[in-house]
Amino acid sequence: MAGEAKIQPYVRTEMAPTMPPPPSTVGIVGWMRANLFSDWINTILTLVGLYLVYITVDTIYDWAFYRAVWTGEDNKACLEKEVGFPVGACWAFVNAKFSQFVYGRYPFEERWRVDITFLVGAIGLAWMIIENLPYRKWVSVFMAAVFPIMALILLTGGNFELSSGSWKVLSFLAIAAFVGVAIVGVRAQSKGVDFDFSTALMIPAAIFAYLFFVFFLVDFDFGLRHVETPLWGGLLVTLVVAITGIVASLPIGILLALGRRSSMPVVRMASVIFIEFWRGVPLITVLFMSSVMLPLFLPEGVNFDKLLRCLIGVALFSAAYMAEVVRGGLQAIPKGQYEGAMALGLPYWKMMGLIVLPQALKLVIPGIVNTFIGLFKDTTLVLIIGLFDLLGIIQLNVTADAKWFAPSVHNTGYVFAGIAFWIFCFGMSRYSIYMENKLHTGHKR
């Protein structure tokens, strides 16, 4: 039996049970040991970092919440000698003035008009941004064609009583456009080129039908009280200036960028001159010229709206910047793309619209949004021509309303302005990143 002694197998027949890893290397402790306290230098850095976070958060909490005043009627609520402790944030001030920050001096009983405009604008914008919602195309058409007119009529009250001259000019332009198309068509046909009259005439017909409708709406008396723009203020002015600038600058900028790369010398020179002129002057100068110099050149009694002057100035100014951003994108598109498009027989606008611009614009999304954010913050400059944007109206209340004079009010007002601007700019920035990720076809590194 001894020879048959059982040989113990020295190979395991079954897997050894897996032991849990040492507690010091897993979970939160392990992560901290690996990342925060791996050696004594990192330990010191971690501790210093924690201390910095602590004092920052503590200071902010202390200022914004613990020592803050939330309710009050005037500066007595926020003065140290009245309340007995060093006051941090005076939110009572923001609370009391909030409606002024949003609407400026827009008449109370008419503010529902601003609310509706804000609401429709916000819903429409969200609808266009969020994917998978139905009717997105129609909402986009609504936002592009109807909403601006609606906002104009709601905010100003409409009923502009257009002179018969403006109707005549529009009619003349319409007739001229039709005649132009007809002449081009007849000449094309005489050369034997196939010319589709019905589609060619449809385009000006649609444009002018829309313009006539717009003129009619703007002229129509909806029974809304006229609210002149000096009464507008606060967030309303900031958004009107920024959105008009943003919406107008992109198409104009694209046209200018294409113009600057055009082979036609007149178009190229005109674009270059325009861009270099507007990029060469500071925005403050543009605003100042529009508000101070322009009235001196106009005949007595001809006085067009200060806000409108400012809107035009801002739009042209930002269009020049936008043009250069877009041009950067156009130059990044390889020549092969152009040649390929031409080889397919695409005419210029189709080549640009279908092949080049979609790629170019996608490339320069960061630059475009950068310009938008810059423009949004530049709207604060309208203060120097006596328009009160969000920052302007906060500054006005902080510096000029003796009822609310207190050191804490001062800081709170500017912090509030900072937070409000940050929310808008950060929102734009996030949307730009989202768009980049969505469109990053084939460029991911």
Binding site: A96, Q395, L396, K403
Partner: protein, 339 residues
Amino acid sequence: MKTKILSIAAGAAISMMAAQAASAATLDDVKKKGHIQCGVSQGLAGFSNPDDKGNWTGMDVDVCRAVAAAVFGDATKVKYTPLSAKERFTALQSGEVDMLSRNTTWTATRDTALGLNFAGVNYYDGQGFMVRKSLGVTSALQLAGAAVCTNTGTTTELNVADYFRANNMKYEVVAFEKADEVVQAYDKGRCDVYTTDASGLYSQRLKLSNADDHIVLPEIISKEPLGPVVRQGDDQWFNLVKWSLFLMVNAEEMGVTSKNVDEMKGSSNPAVKRLLGVEGNFGENLGVGNDWGYNIIKQVGNYGESFDANVGPDTPLGIARGVNALWSKGGIQYAPPVR
């Protein structure tokens, strides 16, 4: 050559016409459009600032309201154009505003070279100094060697330089762009003295962390008579603005207030009767209704009421009347009589 001369002549004619148009009757224009377009500041506590509801209030605003009350019998028929210091005169010259009531100092240059007319003085201001009580200083002449906080590029800075040099005192300027920055710097102790217009000192004082620790020194080192301005060359409108202001001062002198104006209408005092338009046709001479005086006092109040309501001792600003008291009470506010 001939055509060139012709075109120059045409240009000259057009510019003359434009000048004519600019000096045409503002009063008629105002009556036609139904409101007064009044240029005010972009916010100066007590003079033109928005209240909680966003309505403009203040002493400068009251002048606009008084003129509206005289023209329309309704002080609310004013539209305000907030103007920066730089654009205020162009706005008036170009006709964008009908009058300017924007804490504007009456100086020779502005009155003559700029084509403007000052229609009186609604506030006599002057540059003053504020110091900490703990310094124990009681006069500006004790400020030798002090660090002075002020705004850059204003006459304030020049006035300080003149004053200290004239009195052979050394000083150090700590200058900032904005009034708010100046106050903050003074509050943080970066300088010993804060100087600006006296009315400004009173309002900025409230932004200090402990307003009671500071005093305003008695010396006033410059003359800043602030008043409403109109375009030169329209005497009718000039008269109207001028007399609207005079009327408020006269009313205070005679003790007519917005509260007792209805009783005073039955007064036997001939001066009061003239003031309120019961006797005489002073309104007609100005191109407005004869009850213009009544309307101004009823709706806006007399000068003293306007002062007390906007900047006086019971307001947060707490400015004493000082030189702005009536001449009969030791000040220099003096208005020619209505007769």
